[in-house]
Symmetry: C2
Subunit: 326 residues, 2 copies
């Protein structure tokens, strides 16, 4: 199986809807869409997914982690460029399974592949390394920025927090409690749900937005830093799924458990700020986009991001979030 056969037989069919991709039979793609929001995220076997994860799920996760960035920016996704570095001697069936996952989510999110590069590592032990560059149209009111919030703004997060981190533990057989719904947690790790409708509805409403990928606390700090502020998060108001709640119930130290969830990665929710005067508008935006949104704290003068208890006292959290470099 040659590189050209893989491109022609497996990947070119994914470009059918995009004339500017030229069926992957040119050196470059041509895109005429005025302004574009562009983002790039990589996934590496053993770092961002488990080496044994089914490749169709890995493909869909690759799409979704990138869509989550576009979602946070309020952009409407259009397509993507794909780079794959496969371990040597990867079988055609594996690449086909991967492409089947791409196709599923392309249809679900109305995307097209536009181009890319397909390569093989020189060694079999090299980890599958995936790189995708996604682009979309910015919202009419302008792209949601990470900076731009003011002291006193409320902070919010979509969905529930910590499920994917627990899902990863479940997949690694590190979750022993039979009372916890491991399958739903593992599902959150494998298949995040990019909050595209919510992100679009927040355009012109949120003063700052960020995609929660490194962990709620870490990304809250990134958003607060970008505006020179401090994020104070009410620990008890952090939204949690029934499965996460049942896991917290198994833990001796409740604050520590909540801190762990707020420090675990892969949530792919949107964390954002908006002035208190906009609370009703935020509720309307959440309803219109059929996305749960929780108000979880406030931006204040200062720096960093902290969890506070019911009395406003800071809860110590050991780790600052997920970081590939630790």
């Amino acid at each position: 199986m040659s590189e050209f056969e893989i491109i022609r037989d497996i990947f070119a069919p994914l470009t059918k809807a995009a004339p500017g991709a030229f069926g992957l039979a040119d050196d470059a793609a041509l895109i005429d869409a005025g302004a574009l929001v562009i983002t790039k995220d990589m996934l590496i076997a053993g770092v961002h997914f488990l080496p044994k994860d089914p490749l169709d799920l890995v493909a869909r996760k690759l799409i979704r982690v990138n869509l989550s960035d576009l979602a946070a920016k309020g952009a409407k996704p259009i397509g993507y460029f794909l780079g794959c570095a496969w371990p040597s001697n990867t079988k055609r069936e594996k690449i086909e399974l991967f492409a089947a996952g791409l196709k599923d989510d392309q249809e679900r999110f109305r995307l097209s592949l536009y181009g890319g590069d397909t390569t093989m590592h020189s060694v079999k032990a090299a980890p599958l390394t995936l790189s995708a560059t996604f682009f979309g149209a910015p919202p009419a009111r302008g792209m949601n920025r990470r900076s731009g919030a003011s002291a006193g703004d409320d902070i919010y997060v979509s969905g529930t927090i910590g499920d994917a981190g627990l899902g990863l533990m479940a997949l690694r057989k590190e979750l022993k409690f039979t009372t916890v719904d491991k399958a739903s947690l593992a599902g959150r790790y494998h298949l995040p749900e990019p909050r595209l409708s919510l992100g679009a509805a927040l355009a012109g409403l949120a003063t700052a937005t960020i995609d929660v990928s490194d962990g709620l606390l870490a990304d809250a700090r990134h958003l607060a830093d970008a505006s020179g502020l401090r994020a104070e998060i009410d620990a008890v108001s952090i939204p949690r799924s029934p499965a996460a709640a049942s896991w917290i119930a198994t833990q001796d130290n409740r604050w520590r458990a909540i801190g762990a969830l707020a420090s675990s990665g892969d949530d792919y929710e949107i964390f954002f700020a908006a002035p208190p005067a906009m609370r009703r508008s935020v509720t309307v935006a959440a309803k219109a986009s059929r996305t749960e949104v929780s108000r979880i704290g406030t931006l204040t003068r200062g720096e960093g991001a902290v969890l506070v208890d019911e009395n406003g006292a800071e809860i110590p959290v050991p780790s600052g979030g997920f970081d590939h470099f630790r």
Copy 2:
């Protein structure tokens, strides 16, 4: 050294010229350039560069192989998104050396970094894997396409062919002949010269263009295939550098040596077709862009790409060009 420090200290300075990159402090970049030509090429240690190659040269090669795609399409480069998967425990100095190479070529080609992803492999033995998505403005006359040539069109190639392949052999100590200028050949392997001026000058003139990266014969076949034609290349007319000519002189079988050069990768020249009536215009375009261009054959009815001798007889060539999957 955290991922955030690497981004803030080493990569963010590379975005100074691009307001839409937001200093790498947002989830996505915003680009407002009307139509864009976009391409993506990956480089993997041990496949596309030697694991011991200096990282500043690797960075510049990453830029140049992508610029070569834009050059073939006649596009004017604007910027790029960068994905790096470093072996675990990569030292800061190495990443800084890599970024210094990026900076050099950014200045040379007036580019900006716009975004990307910086990750580390979970294992030290994993090969450095680089992925870049480059974008540029299409030429006013429209992007040069790979398809669109007619039977009877002349075919041309820029620069000289086979130097990078010999350079790779030299770097691997596989070239024993003291009469051959190994340093200049190695230079062609490390630092290809993207033919941006020529590509732009060919807009509206060439009927089909392609970047020569897989080898002259392989890419000639790709271009011919795209128009449903056959490329017949006069073996003696293939341009060669003095160093390559001196290597050919060391070989027992001259045709076989020419065939090997036409099958070796990494030339990063432009191969293109134009009608015989445009010969003068091609000469003018080559002069205006200060790029050597050689007329090396004809497109005919049929399929494939072949080398022919002075009598028009086909010269057998064992391999169909460089392919990462072999």
